[in-house]
Structure formats: structure tokens, C-alpha cells
């Protein structure tokens, strides 16, 4: 279409050069300025890259209208007659230009019907008049040739008077229908358009409305008995030049509006909760049905900020979907009224801003949840440490200290007894020895529970094997692991110990446990699997032990998973990230 438009323009320029000398200087300048301005306007328009538009159609229509004007200036009968013939079609051609300039794209069936019907009516009536007139007496004021214009080469004979009247009525009806109809269609288009698109259409709509008014006025004047055909054609030619300028104005206005609207939208986003973003966007785009949904990669679907799943409309629905993408795929979608591609770009920009705001809110929420969980976990760890201290204190006082006190008292008694009844004294000394042995055993067990020396000396595997030997049930410890920072080893050790204790307590007498440990360079993992009775997750309270384990692991950045089935047993797996080793260390 651009090629056809450009070709027409080149022909017009060539013709202009040929007939140029016959034009007055003022007219020639006017033509050149008009052509230049239009070309620049359309060039700018095309450069702005408004997708889906067809400036070529507009250009073609405008060039045809300029041709009319040039042909009518000719003194050669043939050219003059051709100009006169085309002059009758100026109104439908301008209607075509106006409609083409708003969408540039496809016409609706009704729009095409209007243009074709009005063109046909005008062509038939105007053709009849042209064939039946010696001179083309229609544009009395326009041509410079008055009063001696070139004759009509198509003249075949004088018409019947009644037919002339009918033809004139048909001509006026066709003009009026084309002008008013096109204006009405542009109003419809305006109303259906999105907020940004409306800015683009508005100037063309103004031109179309003004033109419809002029046509209506001219028709009214004609009905009043005046010949208003010449001003009408004049106005059409001028309008043909104004339309591209109106397009350019609309384009600029649209772009300015998008910029400002987006700026304001982004400013308001800062103080808007994710739930209210939809409303803000719907207001900005004047689309109450608008929805915004965010990708949920885990579920392969979309959710709104409250977490409700959102269904995307089908391809044949009235609503359109615009996706905000990055390399990994769609991040968010905006479901909106169907729009032209440029409007979609605008919506996509707003959607991207909304998505960033949503992400920010989500990360903030995640962060605060983590902080809260961290605080709770730290509190539990401290509480557990205090509880442990209390237990040690109780064990020391109630167990070991009692034994030592009793040994001290018995020692005094034995001392006395040795003087009087040596046999009894020696027996008492032996009892004291036993008491002290028991105390020793208790101290050893206590110290082992506080922190196993083996863990420090030989590491996790040896410490766990030792714990395994002390477990009431059969426990196997397997793994091929090295040494790790003390806090990592301690966290894993005490977690495994906790599971061994749980197995001893809950899994049943014959439950065998396998503890596996492995490491892949970045994480150290353990898994304990028992062949116990198992339990149903969620149905059985898991108690403090599991919370303790999670806390211990999370304190060193690790995590824990648990699975259990009745009759099969329980598997607990934990992983702890290892500190990255600096090269050379």
C-alpha cells in the first residue's frame, strides 16, 4: 500500500511538473507545501512505528484528491473532464481516508458497505449528470477557466429534466450518507477504543465531524436552491491534507498521554497494596473488567494477589490477554478489553510495572515471614538451651551430688565403724566405692549427652556409631564423609540423635534404623530410615522433637523433610549447606 501511495505521489509530482507552468505561483506553492507537509507527516507517522497502521491508504486517498484539484486546473478538455468526473467522488474518497486513518487496518463489513454503497450512488448519479451536460457546470467558482471552460468530452446529449433532478437528489444523499456515516463510524470506533487509542482517534474524529457538518450544510444550501458543490469539493481537498496532520497530532497526543499515565501509575503503585493494583490499572485504562494475574510456576497457572486462581479467557472471547514476559516465560498477564497492538504495548508496560510492584510486595512479605520465623526459631533454640541447662542442673544435684553427699556421710560412719566393728566398716567402704562408681557412670553419661567428645575428636561418623551402639535397637550408620565446621557437625549429630531417640520411643521394639550420611561438595545430608510402625503425617502430632530438629538445622541454614507411612516406617532427611571453601585454604 505504501508503494502504491508513493507511486501515486510520484505520478502527481510528475504531472504537476508538466502542468505547473499553467498554475499561478500561489497555487503551485500551495500544492508543493501541502504535498511536502503531508509526506513529512506521514513519514513521521510511519517512523513512529505505530503497529498495524496503513498510512499508505491514507496517502493514496489524499493523492487522488489532490489530482482532482490539479486536473480541474487543466485547460485540456480530456484532463478537465477526468478531473470533473473524479470531483464527484471526493466525499466518499475522503470518507475512506478518514476511516483508514483511524485504524489504518481492516474495515468493518458495515463500514465497507457504507463506503461502497455511497460511492456507487454518487458514481451513478454523477456519471449520469456528466454524460448529459455540455459543460461540467458543477464547480462554478473553482476553476480559473470561467467563463470559458473546456467542454465536456463525454457529453452525449441533453437529459430529461426529471432525471437530472433525481440524479442531483441521489448525489446529495450519497454525499450526506458518506460524510455523516463515516463520522458516525469514527464515533463508534472512538467509543470502543482504549484510553490511549482515543487520544489518537480524537483529532481525526474532530476533522470527520467538521467535515460531516460542512457536507450537511452544503446539502442544505443546495436544497435551498444554491449551488454549493464547488465549496464542498474545495473543503474535501483541504480536508484530505488535514487528515494526515490530524493523525500526527493524535499520535503525539497518544504518546504524551501514555507517558504521563504510566508515570502517574508507577507513582501511585508505590503506595498501593497488591490487591488494589487491579483497580488502579482498571481506572487508568478505563476498563472495569480488567484483571491482572501473576504466574505461579509451581502450579502452571495464574493467581491474583489474594492467591485465587485465575482462568485465562479463550482466544475467541471478547477479552484479550497481554502477557508480561522475561527470559523464563510469562510472569504476569493482563486480561483486558480487546485493543489495538499499540494499546497492548501500553498495557504491557503498565502490567510490567504492576508485576514489579507485586514482586516487591511478595519478597517483602517473604522476608518479613522469614524474619518472624527466624525470631521464633531463635527463641525456641534459646529456650531449648535453657531447658537443657535445667536438666543438667537437676541431674547434677539430684543424682551425682546426692551420691557424693551420701558417700561423704557414709565415709564418716565407716570411719567410726572401723574402730568398733571393722567388718561392718569395710563393708561400708565397699558400698561407698559402689556409690562413687555409679556417680562416675552418671557423670560420663551426662557429659556425653552435653557434647560427645568423640564428635570433636573423630567427627560425625564415629560419634554417631557410638550413639548407635548405645541405642536399644539395631542401628547401622553408613557414609563416606569428611570433617566439617563444629556447628555443622553438632547440628547433624543432634538431629540424628533425636531421630534415634524417636525411633526408640515410638517405632517399636524391633525397629531397625539405618543412618546414611553423604556430601556432594556443597551440602552435607543425612537420612535416617527406620522399619518401625510409622504414622500418618498430619494425623499424628509430631511434637517438639521435630521442631527442635528443624530449628537446629535452620540455624546453620539447613532444612528437614519427613515422610512416614503406617506399617512401613519413617524417613527423615536433612541437608545443611557447607561453607564454600576459599581456594588455597
Amino acid at each position: 500500500m505504501i508503494v502504491i501511495g508513493g507511486g501515486s505521489l510520484a505520478c502527481a509530482a510528475g504531472y504537476l511538473a508538466a502542468v505547473g507552468p499553467r498554475l499561478s505561483a500561489r497555487d503551485a506553492a500551495l500544492v508543493w507545501v501541502t504535498v511536502a507537509v503531508s509526506v513529512v507527516a506521514l513519514g513521521l507517522y510511519a517512523a513512529a512505528g505505530r503497529s498495524g497502521s496503513r498510512p499508505g491508504r491514507v496517502l493514496t486517498a489524499a493523492v487522488v484528491l489532490w489530482l482532482v484539484w490539479l486536473l480541474l486546473a487543466s485547460r485540456r478538455p480530456g484532463e478537465f473532464t477526468l478531473g470533473g468526473l473524479l470531483a464527484g467522488l471526493t466525499v466518499p474518497i475522503l470518507g475512506y481516508e478518514l476511516l483508514a486513518s483511524t485504524t489504518g487496518g481492516a474495515f468493518l463489513r458495515s463500514e465497507r458497505l457504507l463506503l461502497l454503497a455511497s460511492s456507487a450512488v454518487v458514481a451513478i448519479c454523477w456519471g449520469y449528470l456528466a454524460l448529459s451536460s455540455r459543460h461540467l457546470p458543477l464547480m462554478t467558482a473553482m476553476e480559473k477557466c470561467q467563463p470559458a471552460c473546456p467542454h465536456n468530452v463525454l457529453f452525449v446529449g441533453a437529459p430529461a429534466r426529471a432525471f437530472v433532478t433525481v440524479a442531483l437528489e441521489g448525489l446529495r444523499a450519497g454525499w450526506l450518507a458518506a460524510a455523516v456515516g463515516v463520522a458516525a463510524f469514527i464515533v463508534f470506533r472512538y467509543r470502543a477504543a482504549g484510553v490511549a487509542e482515543r487520544r489518537y482517534i480524537a483529532p481525526v474524529l474532530a476533522v470527520a465531524s467538521a467535515y460531516a457538518l460542512i457536507v450537511a450544510t452544503c446539502v442544505a444550501l443546495e436544497l435551498g436552491g444554491l449551488n454549493a458543490r464547488a465549496p464542498l469539493i474545495w473543503c474535501s481537498v483541504i480536508a484530505a491534507t488535514v487528515v494526515p496532520l490530524a493523525m500526527l497530532a493524535g499520535l503525539v497526543w497518544e504518546r504524551l498521554f501514555m507517558g504521563e499515565a504510566l508515570e502517574e501509575f508507577v507513582n501511585q503503585l508505590r503506595d498501593t497494596e497488591p490487591e488494589d493494583v487491579r483497580m488502579l490499572m482498571a481506572q487508568m485504562l478505563d476498563d472495569p473488567s480488567l484483571q491482572i494475574a501473576y504466574s505461579q510456576p509451581a502450579e502452571h497457572g495464574y493467581v491474583d494477589p489474594s492467591g485465587t486462581s485465575v482462568e485465562l479467557p479463550g482466544s475467541d472471547a471478547e477479552q484479550a490477554v497481554t502477557a508480561v514476559q522475561d527470559e523464563s516465560g510469562p510472569q504476569a498477564v493482563v486480561i483486558h478489553r480487546a485493543a489495538v497492538p499499540d494499546e497492548e504495548r501500553f498495557i504491557r508496560a503498565a502490567g510490567a510495572a504492576a508485576f514489579i510492584s507485586y514482586e516487591n510486595h511478595r519478597l517483602e512479605a517473604d522476608l518479613s515471614a522469614t524474619v518472624v520465623e527466624l525470631a521464633a526459631s531463635r527463641k525456641r533454640l534459646i529456650e531449648a538451651a535453657y531447658a537443657e541447662r535445667q536438666r543438667i542442673e537437676r541431674d547434677l544435684h539430684d543424682g551425682i551430688q546426692q551420691r557424693i553427699v551420701s558417700a561423704r556421710v557414709s565415709l564418716g560412719l565407716a570411719d567410726d565403724a572401723l574402730d568398733t566393728t571393722p567388718t561392718r566398716g569395710r563393708r561400708m567402704l565397699a558400698e561407698i566405692g559402689c556409690d562413687l562408681e555409679d556417680a562416675l557412670e552418671e557423670v560420663r553419661a551426662l557429659a556425653q549427652g552435653v557434647y560427645p567428645a568423640l564428635l570433636t575428636t573423630y567427627g560425625l561418623l564415629e560419634a554417631l556409631r557410638s550413639a548407635a551402639r548405645r541405642s536399644p535397637g539395631p542401628v547401622t550408620v553408613r557414609g563416606d564423609i569428611a570433617r566439617y565446621p563444629p556447628e555443622t557437625e553438632a547440628a547433624v549429630y543432634f538431629c540424628c540423635l533425636e531421630t534415634l531417640q524417636n525411633v526408640a520411643k515410638h517405632a517399636g521394639r524391633d525397629a531397625a534404623t539405618t543412618v546414611r550420611l553423604w556430601e556432594d561438595g556443597t551440602t552435607l545430608c543425612f537420612q535416617t530410615r527406620d522399619s518401625g510402625v510409622g504414622f500418618t503425617l498430619g494425623a499424628t502430632p509430631t511434637g517438639r522433637g521435630l521442631v527442635n530438629m528443624r530449628d537446629r538445622l535452620s540455624a546453620v541454614g539447613g532444612s528437614l523433610t519427613l515422610s512416614s507411612r503406617v506399617g512401613v516406617g519413617t524417613v527423615i532427611r536433612g541437608c545443611v549447606p557447607l561453607p564454600s571453601q576459599a581456594p588455597g585454604l
Binding site: 566405692g433 562408681e437 557429659a447 575428636t457 557410638s466 548405645r470 541405642s471
Partner: protein, 241 residues
């Protein structure tokens, strides 16, 4: 858990009785333990306490100067405070293989005992610290070392045997209760004669039992007292397949 004391074993064939008195150097960072050791050993005519040290460094100097037959040391000593005693013992294996080492430990952990036997079980003993209350037991352990034997605390062996027996399809299940008892005595470092004495069996019967046990467990060195301690201990401590 048994508190039965480890017993000294009679010298393996070919070993001569030690020169008397046995020259002993002891090291412990605790003053109380040093005092107890001094008091216990001073009154013993078979043993001459020729040096008393408070850390590993002093001990090194003392060993070099005195050339004792046996060193008694605490497992946990400065500077490392972890298993310094075991490390000293392993170093001595390199420098002075003829010196016996008795490690006194507060840990009833097989891992330490195994670490001590890593470079060979001859002339090595691992006893819990409280055993020093029993002078006779201490003297027996020192004498065993001086003769080239080994001693492992019975409590450690008991824990190992119990744990090993719990495992499903354990080869220990194939042993008779008597054989299991014998395996414990072997791991403690006793000679056939000592086992015969403690279990009231003929020496011939003990030999038969020992061979049967080692065959069932697929172990070698049934008659070499010093080596079979390690074999039995390693077998008991290793993870079953």
C-alpha cells in the same frame, strides 16, 4: 553393663618375663590423678615409677631420659586436649616400639581404643580411668604390657558385643552364649590360659572354642593373642554389611 576388670594375660609363647622392677613413666594433667598413681604404684615392688609428668612435652623429655618399659598416660592432655594420649602412643610406636603404653581414658568409646590399636595392638592398653582404684588391676595391665600383650577395657568390649549382636542377621547370633563370652575375653586381650582360668575351662577347650569362633566370624590369627585383640575389636566395631 559389666564392671568386671580387665585381666592381665600370660605372656605369649616365646616372650620372656619382663625385667623387674618394671620402669614406668606416668603423665596426667590432673594433680589428683598423678597423686593417686604415685601412691598406688609406689608401694608396688614389681614397679618402679621413674617419672611423673603433667603434659605431653614433659613426657617426651622424660621418656628420652629414662627409657621406661611402660608409659601410663591420660588420653586428654594439653596441648590438643582431644586424644593427645593416643597420638603420643602412635608416635612412640615409631620412635620407641619396645615401650608399652597404657592409655587411661574417661571415655568408654571404642573409637579411641581402635585408634590406639591402629598402628598395631602389641604393648597397647586402653583402660577407663576409674580402674586405677584397683591397684592389682593396674599392676596386671602394666605387667601385661611389659610382656608384649594388650588390654582393652571390658566395658568397651561389652558395649561393642551388645550392639553387634542387636543387628539383624548378625553372625554373632551363630555363636553360642559361651562362645560369645569367650569373644569378649579375646577382645579384652586375654591369652588362652587367662581365659581358661577365668571361665574355668581347660586350655585345650579354650583353644577349640577360639578356633571355632574365628572360623564362624571368618577371622584370621586365632592363636596370636596380640593380633587377635585387634581383629576381634575391629570386627565388633565395623558396620555390618
Amino acid at each position: 553393663m559389666s564392671h568386671q576388670a580387665a585381666r592381665a594375660l600370660r605372656a605369649p609363647r616365646g616372650d620372656r618375663p619382663p625385667e623387674l622392677p618394671i620402669r614406668v613413666v606416668a603423665a596426667d594433667d590432673s594433680y589428683l590423678i598423678r597423686e593417686s598413681l604415685t601412691v598406688t604404684l609406689a608401694s608396688e615392688p614389681e614397679i618402679e615409677l621413674v617419672g611423673m609428668c603433667s603434659d605431653g612435652k614433659e613426657l617426651e623429655a622424660c621418656v628420652a631420659a629414662e627409657q621406661p618399659a611402660v608409659v601410663i598416660l591420660d588420653i586428654r592432655m594439653p596441648p590438643s586436649g582431644a586424644d593427645e594420649g593416643v597420638r603420643v602412643a602412635n608416635r612412640l610406636r615409631e620412635t620407641n616400639p619396645e615401650i608399652g603404653v597404657l592409655v587411661l581414658s574417661q571415655y568408654a568409646e571404642a573409637a579411641y581404643a581402635l585408634a590406639l590399636l591402629e598402628s598395631g595392638s602389641a604393648r597397647r592398653a586402653y583402660l577407663l580411668k576409674e580402674r586405677i582404684r584397683d591397684k592389682a588391676e593396674l599392676v596386671r595391665a602394666v605387667t601385661t604390657l611389659a610382656r608384649g600383650g594388650s588390654v582393652i577395657d571390658s566395658q568397651i568390649v561389652d558395649v561393642l558385643i551388645e550392639a553387634r549382636a542387636r543387628v539383624a542377621r548378625s553372625p554373632l547370633a551363630e555363636l553360642t552364649p559361651r562362645e560369645r563370652e569367650l569373644l569378649g575375653e579375646i577382645a579384652e586381650g586375654k591369652s588362652n590360659a587367662a581365659i581358661a582360668e577365668s571361665l574355668v575351662l581347660s586350655k585345650r577347650a579354650v583353644e577349640k572354642h577360639v578356633n571355632a569362633i574365628f572360623a564362624k566370624l571368618n577371622l584370621r590369627d586365632a592363636q596370636d593373642v596380640s593380633r587377635r585383640v585387634k581383629a576381634a575389636l575391629v570386627y565388633l566395631a565395623e558396620e555390618p554389611d
